[in-house]
């Protein structure tokens, strides 16, 4: 039943839209704002998934196969992907759900991302990607190198995340942040009015990621979790070849993200077609190209690698997590911090007009 993919994707899109969950922002703001408000909930999602996946594996429900580690492809691809998501203003998943909110710039980024993922996976550069990703080293996972059970890194990581969560909660306790006036009452107030906190977003993301493992193996017998890049490339390839075998559970998942986010935005009065200026469109297109190339080389995006492979404690997951983060920091400096500093000297300040 590939339709479960559509439902899970819709739930994911809904959750991400309501919680304004943005992995790009989580990485970027660690550096730019010294803020871990979205970063720690993201780590929490990894920990929840790691515990769930280790338990399901122990129970024999699923049998995850961590990716083999190709250091150069993963590091290079991760860095590129990090740069791309700053240019595009959102990671692959973020771009899907913002497209569902009606952002034309995100549609542009999405189309170029999917196109270049297809070029790298099924198109003219497929051989290059395969060659780069076949230069692997012996061990795939941390537990393999250490010769321990997967529970050892799972428990250590979960304890670490637990400590970080407590610290972050204490830090923000008692701080009053102004909210929009309520427009709905009852259950609608919670479902399609107030924004969900990053914690709600992170926790639900972790559980949806576990559900993906179970639903995918039930639907197709395959072992895998959430993934965005491969299905995006499959959509482009399907559209240009008509090969219906490409339309699988994972394709339904990414289409579901668009639908779920659209429903969430529409119900909350947050959908509108929004057209950016030419510069933003160009940057989104460039970002999409770099994202597609980077994700194909690294073997995943902020979901496939930074959320899913990390929960298996594979080297591909954690090394690309670090590479993507470094890529976002470098690009944030280049595209956001540096122009600001230059502007402070030369550019006229943002146009301000006295209000009546």
């Amino acid at each position: 039943m590939i339709l479960t993919g559509l439902l899970l994707g819709a739930a994911l899109g809904y959750v991400l839209q309501r919680s304004r969950f943005c992995v790009t922002g989580a990485f970027r703001d660690l550096y730019m704002a010294r803020s871990a408000r979205f970063f720690i909930p993201f780590l929490l999602a990894i920990a929840i998934q790691a515990i769930g996946v280790a338990a399901l594996t122990g129970a024999g429900v699923i049998a995850p196969e961590p990716a083999s580690f190709a250091p150069l492809a993963v590091i290079g691809g991760g860095l590129l992907f990090g740069v791309g998501i700053i240019m595009a203003g959102g990671c692959a998943t973020g771009t899907y759900y913002r497209a569902g909110e009606g952002l034309i710039g995100s549609w542009v980024a999405l189309i170029f991302y999917a196109l270049f993922a297809a070029v790298m996976k099924y198109g003219p550069l497929g051989g290059f990607t395969e060659a780069a990703r076949s230069r692997t080293v012996a061990d795939s996972t941390i537990q393999e190198t250490l010769g321990v059970s997967v529970w050892v890194p799972t428990i250590l990581f979960s304890v670490l995340v637990g400590v970080l969560v407590v610290r972050q909660v204490r830090k923000s306790a008692g701080r009053k942040v102004v909210r929009l006036p309520a427009r709905r009452s009852g259950i609608g107030h919670y479902l399609a009015d107030i924004p969900w906190s990053p914690w709600v977003g992170g926790i639900l993301l972790g559980f949806l990621a576990i559900a993906a493992w179970v639903l995918l193996s039930t639907a197709s017998g395959r072992n895998g979790g959430l993934g965005i890049t491969t299905p995006s490339a499959k959509i482009v390839t399907y559209l240009s070849t008509g090969d219906v075998t490409l339309l699988d559970w994972s394709v339904m998942l990414v289409l579901g993200i668009l639908i779920g986010s659209f429903i969430a935005a529409k119900l909350s009065g947050e959908f509108r077609w929004r057209v950016p200026d030419a510069n933003t469109i160009l940057r989104s297109a460039g970002g999409g190209v770099v994202m597609g190339i980077g994700a194909a080389l690294a073997g995943g995006c902020t979901i496939g690698n930074s959320l899913v492979e990390t929960s298996l404690f594979s080297y591909q997951g954690w090394v690309s997590f670090a590479a993507i983060m470094l890529g976002t920091w470098a690009a944030a400096w280049f595209f956001l911090v540096r122009p600001q500093k230059a502007a402070a000297k030369s550019r006229p300040a943002p146009a301000l007009s006295p209000a009546a």
Partner: protein
């Protein structure tokens, strides 16, 4: 007290926040900055920034679908 408007419609995050911070630097404490924006994530990041930096939010509301306005009074 003087009030100034900053229109950021069409700008995607994090630009509304970056522009708001830079605009705020030009104001005196007690001045109001009225920011119009249509990037959904800024409904989170702008009030959060005000709370973190000690500015007072005197108004925060929707303007039609996917449009918002927030008035931030510069703190001491």
């Amino acid at each position: 007290m003087p009030a100034y408007t900053l229109e950021t419609n069409g700008a995607v995050c994090p630009f509304p926040l970056i522009d708001a911070k830079s605009a705020m630097e030009q104001l005196n404490s007690g001045d109001d900055l009225i920011i119009g924006f249509d990037c959904t994530q800024a409904t989170d990041s702008l009030p959060q920034w005000a709370a973190d930096d000690g500015h007072e939010v005197v108004a925060f509301d929707r303007v039609g679908d996917a449009g918002w306005t927030i008035t931030v009074r510069k703190g001491a």
